[in-house]
Amino acid sequence: MAQPAEVTVVPKRIGGSIVLFLPAEVVRKRRIREGVPVRVTIGPEARAKALGALKRRRRHRQFDRHEEGFWDDS
C-alpha cells in the first residue's frame, strides 16, 4: 500500500492554508505538488452516488418502522 503524502492546499476564498494527507497514488494521479494550489471538493459528488444505489421495485413502499415490527417489544 502506498504511503500517504503531505500536501499543502491553499483555499482561494478563505485565504488561509491547511494541510491534507492524501494517498501517494492520488498525489501522483492528480499531479499535486507542494505549494501549488489545488481545488478540493469534499462531499457532494460522492454523496450523490447514494441516490439510486438500490434498484427500485415496481411497487415501492416507504420504510415504516412500525409496520416492519422490528421493535415490537419496545
Binding site: A50, L51, K55, Q62, W71, S74
Partner: protein, 133 residues
C-alpha cells in the same frame, strides 16, 4: 460546513437509495448541497439490513450500507443520546402509542448532533426538529 446539520432516518435513506421522487428531493436538498453535514445513526444501518433481508435482498445489503456510509457521517449512539432515549420514548408515546424505542433513539442521536431529523414517521408529529423534506 455551514448549513445546519441533518440526520437521515432510515425512512429517508430508503427513499434516497431507491431514487424515488422523495429520495431525489432529499438528495438534491441535502446530499448534493455543499456544506450540509448529513449524519446517520448506526441504528439505521441495522434497519436497512433487516429490511433488505426480509425482502429477500440480502445480496444488496452491503451496497446499501456502503452507500450510506460513503454519503454521510455514521454516528454511534452516544452516552448522552442513550440517556435521552428513555425519557424521549415516554414523551413520544404520549402523542403516539406506536412510538418505538428506535424512534426515540433516532431523535436522541439527531438532537445530540444538533441536527434536524429527516423522517416521514408519523410518531414524530409535532416535533419541531423533525422534517420529512
Amino acid at each position: 460546513m455551514t448549513a445546519n446539520p441533518v440526520a437521515f432516518d432510515t425512512w429517508a435513506w430508503w427513499e434516497v437509495l431507491h431514487a424515488t421522487p422523495t429520495g431525489e428531493k432529499l438528495a438534491k436538498k441535502y446530499l448534493e448541497a455543499p456544506g450540509v453535514r448529513v449524519v446517520t445513526a448506526d441504528l439505521a444501518l441495522v434497519e436497512l439490513s433487516a429490511k433488505l433481508a426480509r425482502e429477500g435482498r440480502a445480496d444488496e445489503i452491503h451496497r446499501a450500507l456502503a452507500a450510506v456510509e460513503a454519503a454521510s457521517e455514521v454516528v454511534p449512539i452516544s452516552l448522552s443520546a442513550a440517556e435521552a432515549s428513555g425519557p424521549l420514548l415516554v414523551e413520544l408515546r404520549k402523542v403516539n402509542r406506536e412510538a418505538s424505542l428506535a424512534d426515540a433513539v433516532m431523535l436522541a442521536v439527531a438532537r445530540g448532533e444538533g441536527a434536524r431529523l429527516i423522517s416521514g414517521d408519523q410518531c414524530f408529529a409535532g416535533q419541531k426538529d423533525v422534517a420529512s423534506g
